[in-house]
């Protein structure tokens, strides 16, 4: 029970923690108040409570495929928010005088959506132990350990990113956001295949003997870039396409803002 709860909580926390670290590292060059962090974490928790509470109803939508549909939709939405964030990070970096409120809004949105997604699963897991007091205490201890490990990895990751020069850490953070976004798209595709909305295919390759998905490196890679040991051709196609779209966004906005910066001078 203890170990199970450590693993479940760690897995869920890891994704959100790595996203927080990446966003914090990406905005190191701006003097920011961490108000947005507090607001987005609390609204994320509220969202998680709502999702966990209503999951039975959501699951029954679309002929029992509501779980897949809602999760895929949430992931696609996070991807769009990440695209907007990428554009804004470039803008704020190139033109320090711009308003930063919209950036914080979208950072908060990405974070609270991700907390909603991960948190709801933890809450549903907890709900199974609400009436068994003995189990609940070991589940709680396990969860605290899992959360501690997850946030520690996140903190380590933040300091690792911060060790670089500002412009380099921004580039790494942008690259990570691109990969996290692509991972979201690939997961959404997997869910739609699971729901039989998209066609299922044989895996394109199998890397489970090198990096099993269940291992810690596998889980880290999953959280960072949506690693799958046996992805289907469609998943890989969507992944590559979403990376390309993100690159187009980076190139276009970099071009746009660097030119307008030059013309301002």
């Amino acid at each position: 029970m203890l170990l199970t709860s450590v693993i479940i909580v760690l897995r869920e926390i890891l994704e959100a923690a790595l996203l927080i670290s990446t966003l914090l590292a990406a905005t190191r060059f701006i003097c920011i108040s961490h108000n947005w962090l507090r607001i987005s974490i609390s609204s994320g928790i509220a969202g998680a409570l709502l999702l966990a509470w209503q999951l039975r109803w959501i699951s029954n939508l679309y002929g029992g495929l509501g779980y897949e549909m809602s999760n895929a939709l949430l992931q696609a939405f996070i991807y769009v928010v990440i695209l907007v964030l990428i554009a804004m990070l470039i803008k704020v970096y190139l033109r320090t005088a711009t308003r930063k409120k919209p950036l914080f809004f979208f950072m908060g949105l990405a974070l609270s959506l991700s907390i909603t997604r991960e948190g709801s699963e933890i809450l549903i897991y907890f709900s199974g132990f609400m009436h068994t007091k003995e189990a609940l205490s070991s589940v709680m201890i396990g969860s605290i350990i899992g959360a501690g490990v997850g946030f520690s990895i996140g903190a380590l990751f933040y300091f690792l990113l911060s060790a670089f020069d500002q412009s380099i850490s921004l580039k790494i953070a942008l690259a990570l956001l691109v990969l996290v976004g692509a991972g979201m798209c690939s997961q959404a595709t997997m869910l739609l295949i699971q729901a039989d909305v998209l066609p299922s295919q044989r895996p394109l390759w199998n890397t489970s003997s090198w990096i099993p998905e269940s291992s810690l490196p596998g889980q880290l890679l999953y959280a960072l870039m949506g690693y799958e040991a046996t992805p289907s051709p469609l998943q890989v196609g969507i992944y590559v396409a979403s990376v390309l779209v993100s690159f187009v966004v980076i190139v276009v906005f970099h071009h746009l803002y660097s030119r307008s910066t030059n013309s301002n001078e």
Binding site: L55, I193, S200
Partner: protein, 118 residues
Amino acid sequence: MQTLKIQCYLCRQRVIYMLFFVLLPTLAKAGTPLVDISIEQHLFIPSEITIPANTKVKLRIHNRDATPEEFESWELNREKVIMGNSTAIIFIGPLLPGAYPFFGEFNPKTAQGKVIVE
């Protein structure tokens, strides 16, 4: 009166179209084999199912426990939360012959199963 008739006719047509679009996928999926699995006392019953190779299969998982469970399989690339006392549908395959383990993430010590593809 005439307009009412036309409206009625249009209504009926729309219903027929809607039925067509609702039934079409159902008919198309009628050929998909269905396998039922139950979750009882945090165990999968049956814990081993055999399905044909290269065929898409519809798994219907009945969680008869009061507590939620998460069906998870690394090998099948599937994960789905199934609330207590409810039924969930998961499509798997087409798969190559082999064994594909799955487990209940919330109770991994007991909830273990395997899909055998032949």
